[in-house]
């Protein structure tokens, strides 16, 4: 036991697996055993080795804290009475750190301690409290529950991460596709129509009969209408202004269009135009469009105030309406996929979206995205 007691790495792996490096990547759950008595540690290790998990040990509160800094434990078994930092204090410190804020802790104590210390244990975040000598089967099954819980939450985290990456991928693919289709439609189709019109005009100039001239005239008008339709479709997919003039001009234009389309008055406060990263610009613009869609659909507002702020670090957007105000229940409701989309878009570039609504006093949406996209 002495080599375990002096090992600074404090990693003991059952069944002869290489410690530390190998265990870092092992799919096993990590369990931390903390006791100042080598004998107790040994007993616990023996007892729990059948679970087949990665058991790590610490002989003091300080050592436990160090390990908790670098590892995510499925559960900790913590002796209450230790020299130096005692079990309660260790638990408090462990729980005060972000990484181990939610780590389940089971206290172990030798003495038939009175109720008050038990309450102290629960206060600092214990999930359970066992007296020594522990009943092996009880301890084992309790630890097994936490190991299972830990596995599930790890899997949940993984799939959350995958979904987020998938969403990011879909957003960027859709954006590329839209830009591509818009360009094709606008440039190719639009230019062919222009050429066609020139041909018809050429023809018209050579005609002398009135009915024929009337025909070419109406052909020209038809072509003009088609060009306008093409332009409308292309702009709807992706406003060419975003690429030509940047997000500030595009936001200003979109605000004007919105007022024209809905009769809701828009006031936009825009900074002088600056060149911003294209992905950041697109993100900001799409979020802005989503905000306006929500205003038109739900707010019953008669006025929208828009402010775009660009400084060296961030580009910020504030949109305030004077409508009915979004309710908290709508912020997280099932129908709020559009809002979720805004958050996800912003998150992709390290930004954030904050929405606050006061029923009867309008809704305010603040978006902030770093100017420099994350590498």
């Amino acid at each position: 036991m002495s080599e375990v007691a002096t090992a600074t790495r404090s990693a003991v792996v059952p069944e002869g697996l290489a410690p530390e490096t190998a265990t870092e990547t092992a799919p096993q759950a990590k369990i931390l055993l903390v006791d100042d008595e080598p004998k107790s540690l040994f007993a616990l290790q023996e007892l729990l080795s059948t679970l087949g998990q990665n058991l790590m040990i610490a002989q003091s509160g300080e050592e436990a804290l160090r390990l908790a800094l670098k590892n995510d434990f499925a559960v900790m078994l913590l002796d209450v009475r230790m020299p130096g930092i005692d079990g309660f204090e260790t638990a408090r410190l462990i729980r005060s750190r972000e990484r181990s804020r939610l780590t389940p802790i089971i206290f172990l104590t030798a003495a038939a301690d009175e109720m008050s210390s038990m309450f102290r244990g629960y206060e600092v975040g214990a999930v359970d409290y066992l007296q020594k000598p522990v009943v092996p089967e009880i301890l084992k099954s309790k630890v097994a529950v936490f190991v299972e819980l830990h596995r599930k939450s790890e899997r949940l985290k993984e799939s959350e991460d995958k979904l987020r990456r998938l969403a990011a991928h879909l957003i960027s693919v859709r954006e590329e596709e839209r830009a591509h289709i818009a360009r094709e439609i606008h440039d190719e189709l639009g230019q062919v129509l222009t050429g066609l019109k020139m041909e018809v005009t050429w023809l018209a100039k050579r005609l002398r009969e009135k009915p024929l001239i009337e025909k070419t005239d109406s052909m020209c008008k038809l072509i003009d209408t088609t060009v306008q339709t093409v332009r409308k479709i292309a702009t709807g997919l992706r406003p060419e202004m975003l690429d030509d003039m940047g997000v500030i001009a595009a936001v200003g234009w979109q605000a004007k269009e919105f007022q024209k389309r809905t009769g809701i008055r828009c006031r936009a406060k825009l900074p002088p135009e600056v060149k911003l990263d294209m992905d950041v610009s697109t993100t900001m613009f799409r979020i802005f469009q989503e905000i306006l869609t929500n205003v038109a659909r739900h707010s019953r507002a008669t006025r929208v105030d828009i402010e775009l702020i660009v400084n060296e670090e961030r580009v910020g957007l504030e949109v305030t309406d004077n409508g009915v105000g979004i309710a908290d229940s709508d912020l997280n409701g099932k129908k709020s996929l559009g809002l979720l989309g805004m958050h996800e878009r912003a998150l992709l570039f390290g930004g954030e979206v904050r929405i606050t609504g006061t029923p009867g006093h309008g809704t305010r949406v603040s978006v902030s995205i770093p100017v420099q996209p994350k590498a």
């Binding site: 639009g190 062919v192 019109k197 020139m198 005009t201 060419e240 024209k260 009769g263 008055r265």
Partner: protein, 212 residues
Amino acid sequence: MTEVKVIIADDHPVVRQGLRQMLAVEQDLTVVGEARNGQEVVELSRRVPWEVAVLDYNMPGKNGLELIKELRQRYPGRAVLILSMYPEDRYAVRALKAGAAGYLTKESAPEELVSAIRKVAGGGRYVTPTLGEKLALELEDNRGKPLHETLSDREYQVMWMIASGKTVRQIADELFLSPNTVSTHRTRILRKMNMKSNAELMHYAIAHHLVD
């Protein structure tokens, strides 16, 4: 009649061909060269003598504004005329500010293009009547508050709805207001804007681009 030498640039062959045909029938205009992109325009402008360059706004390579500025810098006395797919309300002012002598959309009638080329060749500027009107309106708007700005937000919305052809009933339903309230708004709007009828309101809204 002096001859005007014209460069045309567009990345689309159909458009170049159309332009060439269109200008070929004009005795006083000669196409001296064609380019497919910004780079070619720059090279061409060095190689051949020219007075007017008719450029597409959006060609591969250099963007329209850069190209205008570059040509203006090198050849201050010569004219750059933009012929663009993009609507003039968003792009024309920028192009003119960058130094273009005129801005036409590709929907413009060929006669318009021809007269624009003649005008800018003589050192003038060419602005379409629509754009001219818009600029005039903006000037007017800057001098005093335009009438619609005197309306409250709610009145503005009701005005917009009337101008869009909605009835009092429809407006009341959409805004969750009583028809009476809407009528009251309407009366106040007409008074503030010094008008007598919905028709006048519609006319105003269209002229000021408040509705589509």
